[in-house]
């Protein structure tokens, strides 16, 4: 119980610290502007006004959320080490796993709030465009939830790299994992097409090893008014939880081994 409280304190502190980042506000403002601009983009096209609004709105939430997750996530641990504040934290009765888990939840909380702000902006734009909101419009919340799962996974990857490397390298690695994670289906297909059992096994191994970010791509379907099926929400939630457990455990393992002098 005490452990949970300590995690909560670290998470709250990290949340407060993240919220103070100016770059965060710039990104939110830019995302909101882009969502607002979706109304204008719809006007220069024919017959797809609402589809553009949903596509651009949700893509903005996803893309800017991704930028926030990467650029704040990569400095989560490194900043504490660089400023040497880690000594004062670890000198207190705080275990290293609690520190890592607290940091993670702090950033996820920040992303949750930011996504909520951008989603509100998206619905305001939709309301402006349509004049009123219908129940079917809230199907987009399924896509927003999938985006949040994706961001939670990205933060996990960034946290892991933050324990190993410098911010710049961590950003590069996280971005690479994200891009590869979007191409996993193609990588597996490539292995099957080579007609080499060895390559096929390797690509299949990579397919299951790396986080599959392609699982969360439901924006297009949502734009056409389809709702995200319940089994997809559930299975992706389980997938994310499991993968996050792996990532955070790996980060804790690395962090436990680090020596601070």
């Amino acid at each position: 119980m005490k452990s949970v409280r300590r995690i909560a304190v670290i998470a709250l502190q990290n949340f407060k610290e993240s919220v103070r980042e100016r770059v965060l506000y710039n990104l939110i403002v830019f995302a909101l502007l882009l969502i607002g601009a979706a109304i204008l983009f719809g006007r220069i096209s024919v017959g797809v006004e609402q589809i553009i609004l949903v596509n651009l709105g949700l893509s903005s939430i996803s893309a800017f959320g991704l930028l926030m997750a990467i650029f704040i996530g990569i400095s989560l641990v490194w900043k504490e080490i660089d400023r040497r504040t880690i000594y004062s934290i670890l000198a207190k009765p705080v275990r290293r796993p609690e520190f890592i888990i607290g940091k993670y939840f702090g950033l996820v909380g920040t992303l949750l709030i930011n996504t909520a702000i951008m989603t509100t902006g998206f619905y305001v734009a939709l309301l402006y465009d349509k004049g009123r909101l219908e129940l079917s419009d809230f199907r987009a919340l399924g896509a927003v939830y999938m985006i949040l799962l994706q961001l939670a996974l990205v933060v996990g990857v960034a946290l892991l790299f933050s324990c190993i490397s410098t911010p710049i390298l961590s950003a590069v690695f996280t971005l690479c994992v994200y891009v590869i994670g979007n191409f996993l289906n193609d990588i597996r297909w490539f292995g099957q097409e080579t007609n080499s059992a060895w390559v096929e096994k390797l690509t299949t191994f990579l397919y299951y090893l790396l986080p599959n970010f392609g699982n969360f791509n439901v924006i297009s379907r949502t734009a056409h008014g389809e709702s995200v099926p319940g089994y997809l929400l559930l299975s992706n939630s389980l997938y994310t939880l499991l993968y996050l457990a792996i990532l955070i455990s790996a980060a804790i393992l690395i962090f436990e081994e680090r020596e601070f002098r």
Partner: protein, 517 residues
Amino acid sequence: MSNKSNASVEGRLARRICWVIVIGGFLSLFPIQQGIDRTEDAMGNVADALYLTSGQVLSRLSLGHEGLLADIYWTRVVQYVGLKRLSHSTNFDQLGPLLRLTTELDPHLLIAYRFGSIFLAEKPPGGAGQPEEALRLLRRGIVANPDYWRLWEDLGFIYYWDLKDYANAARVFQAGSERPGALVWMRVMAATVAAQGGETQTSRALWSEIYRHADNEQVRQSAIEHLAAIETQDQIEKLNQLLARYQKREGRAARSFHELVEAGYLADVPRDQTLGLALFGLLGVKAVADLTRGVSSKRSRYTVVLKSALYLAIGSLVVVGARVLGLDWAAELYMWSSQGDVDRGQYGRAYTNAVQAVGLRPGALQYWRTLAVAKLAQRQFESLLDDHLTFQFLDGGTLDEQDAYRFALCYFYLGEYDKALSITKHLIQQNRRYAAPYVLQGMTYSAQKKYADAELTFLDILQRYPTNQAAVEGLAQTYYLAGKRDLAIQLLDETAKYSFPPGARKRFEALKALYGR
């Protein structure tokens, strides 16, 4: 101290040099940029290009945002078609690939199949004139969206309208009628098209159905325009049949409606019996509404005043029962609208307004002329030639020189050069001051590769009118085609001695650059 003083002098000098560079640099940028612009103008527009041609590759590169990319490509399609129509270009090379990319990125973007197939199938200048490509697009759409019956409707429509393949149209309507949610109308259409493909009644039924179920204002407006055109086309056809029968029996063309009445072909001179005062009011109001479309917001105050005045005038006419006068006014308003539409490059609307004017006053030549101009602008050459007898009849047996010139133009564009030449020679013989037939004759000779005759014709008119831009361009083009490139450039150089408008000069320069390459 001396070192400090030197450093201070050097600092000031450096600052001055920097200022000179900044100011001089900006001043020099201006002529350099102008030079670049001129060179680019002379080089012409860069051809449209698609750098990525695979939708699958683009989809993967989008990292899960393929829907957004599809929207962007669809917007690009809309802008592409819009720009081509504004520039009166008939080259729609990139339309098919752009639509393929759009639908590969988002196979469920139904609007891209539905509007895209219209853009592809419509004849130039309105569209690409590629009905086969439109069929391919719709077939892909049906595979991706098998339950969406409207795509079957569009497919049948293209078979019916653009390919005149009534058997396939009926088969497609029948197949579409079996899709979930398909309206009963599809089955009726399948039977009707199979039995009476190509008949006006069938076309009318198709457009009426589209009008009733259109969920887009542009489609609905298009259906109204087509229905109006079909209605007038019916009247024109009947009139042409009467005239042909008269000519066959009497051995000459009828000169007036009275002759037709006397010969027993008509019971009375047409007086628009079906149109009453109420109809006039409605038509007048619509014509006024059309008249002020596209007026800038700055002039909206005057527009409101003008509209109010016109509405008041129409209301007064209705009240006093000026039926005949009212119809004339409505026809006049449609004619003015049509002429304004031609000036603005809105040829589809110009055609519809001209058709309305002719429909109201089929016995008045000026409305037929307005319709002829609209048809020429839309490149409906065959349709205009179909009206030949009507013009002859309304012209009193002999065609007016401008009407005859329009028919010669139609023959020229249809490649019937001998017929075009026969008319231009006659026109030149009748009136040697009328320049247009000379130019057309020169162009016709040039198209027939009779370059010597073309040269003589152009020189003839240039002796009379040395500043006739079309003749200068025609002669230069003739020289160029005949392999006399130097003469072409020399001729364009000589235009410097004469007074030409700036637009013409710019064009001559562009031609010189082209011939010089």
